[in-house]
Structures are given as structure tokens and as C-alpha cells.
């Protein structure tokens, strides 16, 4: 449901015999599918146990008409539970190119993410790399950089797990405010946009 707010998406009709994803603009180069589209109103909670969630994940993987795609990125909830197991089970016949692990610099976050790495290894997913998010905040008033959520976690995790650190994204309040617009287009000179481009280049080379 996080994805739905990044793009302006009100009032799209998506249900046909199979599901058509929602395109962010006329070029139709970026499509989104989310359960967020299926809720009547934004306050409605999805209160489902495992079997129903598993069935929904399966439907999203088998019933959406993506058309020809270069990249399909699957955003998962935190943890190592029904949704993750379901995705892996349903992708058994399909080549999953890999997983990107996102962490913050804190030890508390690293501790959780180590388990995510274990999940990937147990289920045979290649780990493409780690992205460290919320890595430092540059004060807009005095340019002092503060490590609000500690520092160095991404690097130490990458070293510990022998996984590539793809990049470290600093906190930039302007990115959160974009809501529907691309950071790389609207803030091309921001540290975030630069790091995103580097990450994508590294992934393309893999």
C-alpha cells in the first residue's frame, strides 16, 4: 500500500477478465499493481490470516497482465512470513533474478535484516545487494550531517554476510514530499537521486 501513494492513481478501473495494472503516465513504461487499488476507502484495513493472503499473492503473480516487462520489482512487507513464502513458492517455475535487502544503519535493523538474508539463502534467492536507507541527515540550516539512526550498519552487514553494499541513501525530506513524482526527475542533483542512479547502474551491470 506504500506504492499507491507514490503515484497519482485515483479512479482507475483495473478489473477485467484478468487484471490490468495501473500506469503512472501515458508512456506506460511504469506500471503498478497493489491491493491498495482494491480497497473501498483509504481507512479500510485488510484483516486477513495467512491462507487468504497467500491466495491474494498468488493472484497478483498469475492474474496481472503486465505485458512485456524488463523489470518486475516486488515490494514485500517486513519479516519472513506468509507473503514471502508465498512469493517464493509461486515463483518456483519462474527465474527470480534476485533480492535487494533494505536496512537502516542501526544494529537493531541489522539484526532483523540478517534473518532476511538467511531467508534468501534458505530459499535459494540470489542476494543482489544491500541498500542502507536513512543514512545520515544533512541539516538544511547549517549543513552539519547527523547520523540520526546510527552509522555503519549497512557496511558491517555487507561485510558480515559477504554481500555487496549497493549504496547508502541519506534522509532528504524533499523526497518524502514528492508524492507521485520521481526523485530522479524532480531532484536530479540531490544526493538521493545520485545514489539511486549509482545503484541502478550497479544492478544493470550484475
Amino acid at each position: 500500500m506504500e506504492i499507491i501513494r507514490r503515484y497519482v492513481l485515483s479512479g482507475y478501473w483495473i478489473k477485467l477478465a484478468r487484471w490490468v495494472p495501473v500506469y503512472t503516465d501515458e508512456s506506460q513504461r511504469l506500471a503498478v499493481m497493489s491491493i491498495g487499488f482494491l480497497l473501498d476507502n483509504r481507512n479500510s484495513a485488510v484483516v486477513w490470516r495467512g491462507p487468504k493472503k497467500t491466495a491474494m499473492v498468488k493472484q497478483f503473480l498469475t492474474d496481472v497482465c503486465w505485458g512485456e516487462l524488463d523489470y518486475l520489482i516486488i515490494d514485500t512487507p517486513p519479516g519472513t512470513s506468509d507473503e514471502h513464502i508465498s512469493v517464493m513458492e509461486n515463483l518456483k517455475q519462474v527465474k527470480c533474478d534476485g533480492a535487494i535487502i533494505v536496512t537502516t544503519p542501526q544494529q537493531v535493523s541489522i539484526e532483523d535484516v540478517r534473518k532476511e538474508i538467511t531467508f534468501c539463502r534458505k530459499t535459494g534467492i540470489t542476494i543482489l545487494g544491500i541498500i542502507e536507507n536513512m543514512s545520515g541527515f544533512v541539516c538544511p540550516h547549517c549543513t552539519e550531517c547527523t547520523n540520526i539512526f546510527s552509522t555503519g550498519g549497512g557496511e558491517s552487514l555487507a561485510e558480515l554476510s559477504k554481500v555487496t553494499l549497493l549504496g547508502s541513501l541519506p534522509i532528504d525530506p524533499r523526497v518524502g514530499q514528492l508524492l507521485g513524482k520521481a526523485a530522479v526527475k524532480e531532484l536530479p542533483d540531490s544526493p538521493c537521486a545520485k545514489v539511486f542512479k549509482e545503484i541502478v547502474n550497479k544492478l544493470g551491470a550484475t
Binding site: A45, V46, P51, I148
Partner: protein
Amino acid sequence: MSTVVEKPKSIPEHCPGTQSDNAGRASACAGCPNQQICSTGPKTPDAGIQLVKDRLEQVRYKILILSGKGGVGKSTVTALLTRTLASQDPERNVAVLDIDICGPSQPRVLGVLDEQVHQSGSGWSPVYVEDNLSVMSIGFLLSSPDDAVIWRGPKKNGMIRQFLSEVDWGKLDYLLMDTPPGRSHWSHYCDNTTSRALLDVRKEIDFCKKVKVDVLGVIENMSVFACPCCQRLSEIFPATTGGAKQMCKELDVPFLGSLPLDPRIARCCDEGKDFVTALPNTPAVKALNDIVTKLVETCERKLNK
């Protein structure tokens, strides 16, 4: 004599369970070989629920800490609230039940990472952080930090049920339950101020109303950041739709308070140190004390109703 209907091998995908009130009557039951037995047979009360009730009888206030979203600082806030409750009154007995089965953070955050849980005739003993503060977490049962709990819902629910029915807390005033983000296992919120986090908190509030759990209030975490160099304030996660206060007004739930960002909190959590007693004069601890005072008043008012 009571009978328990055993599930047939080919159960429907969304079987409500043979002990459920909907057994035999749900739409998923159509075509199941046990449908008639389930719909007509006598229902036995779930023995597990009674065990949980018995176990938690000596706990005065049981509080769930929920957030629809990951990354809002729920585990941190749970630990801070617990520390504040314990430090405000040494006679007050407080505990944390960490039921984030996939990502148990409380052992580290409370500084008891290497402790072990012991089992006795009266159940599992929680780990004591202070004389009046204890904690139970699946984190204590994992042999290595890399061990992942890769379980589907039913097995996780079983573990949660075990925690609720088998931990010997003794007499407690407050039991705070740190939950995983989302609602599939459940039913005090914690949210960032951006509209995305709030959207998920709205769903969480909706969930509580659906399952009839009282919303004691919303805590807005990471509200502002004071630069340690120039002391000026920045909104790192800007409130694009009026923030938590506005949302609370709309949804008619109490707003307990805002916690500012303080890098020392993250450091203390990583090191398992007690931020509340180490830095009592910080804006964050002052805010925590106000929040806990409001929470205690709300709980006592509800009990006395």
C-alpha cells in the same frame, strides 16, 4: 462427552477451523466432506483461550503497541514507554512481551541480548531487566542472530498463543505487547508523520474498531529533529496531511503526544542502554513522561468505569 472434529485431509483453502463458530457454515465449507458434522456437532470452548485468560489474570493493564507500517520505531517506543513506566514508580511492575516473531528487537534494545529463558513447573520465566521490568521474546530462543523464523501464520499464531499462556509474569501492573507491523495476527499506535505512514495507521485504527479493541491513543514518533550543531528544528518526515493530531481529531482517538528524533535514542537502543534514566532532561524524555502520565490516567479511568 465432548467431541473434537478432526480436519479431513482435503480441507478447503479457507477452512475456518473445526472449533470455530463458523465451522460448517462459512462459504469455504461448501463441498467439504466434514461440512455436516462441523455445522451440527457441539462446539467445545477453545481450551487455549482459557489458559491465556488464567495466565493474564494477574496483569492489571494489557496494552498492544501497533503500527500498520514497518520502520516507524514501534519497538523503540515500546521499550521507551516500558522504561518510563518502570522508572516513574519503582513499585509499579511492568513487562514487555515481544511478539514480533520475525524481527524480535526487545532483547537488544533492553540490554539483555545474551540472557536465557528458563522453564519451570509454573511456566517460562521472563528475563528481568530491572527489579520491576521484565521481558519475554522469541529472540531469547534463537541460537544465533542469523536464525530466521520462516513460519506461516498458523505456526506463528501458535507461538504467540504459547507466549500468552505459558509465561509466568507474576503480578503485573502493565504488560506492553510489541507486535509486528500489519494486522494478520492481531488486532497504542506509533506513526511517522508522513501521509503514507498515517494511511497505514488509519487502517490500524480501523482494524481495532473492527475487532473491538479500545484505542488508548496515538503517539507520533520522529516528529521533529533538533540539529545538535545549530539547534534549529527540521521536519524530517514532513506532515503532508495535517499529521497525527489532525488524524486523531478526524477519527476521534486520543493524541498522546509527539516524540522528537534524537540520535542518542538510536545509539542507546543499539547498545541496550536506558535512555530514559541516562538522559532525563532531554526533550524526548520529557515528552515520554507526559505521554506515560496521560496513558496511566486513561488506563485508570477505564478501569474505574
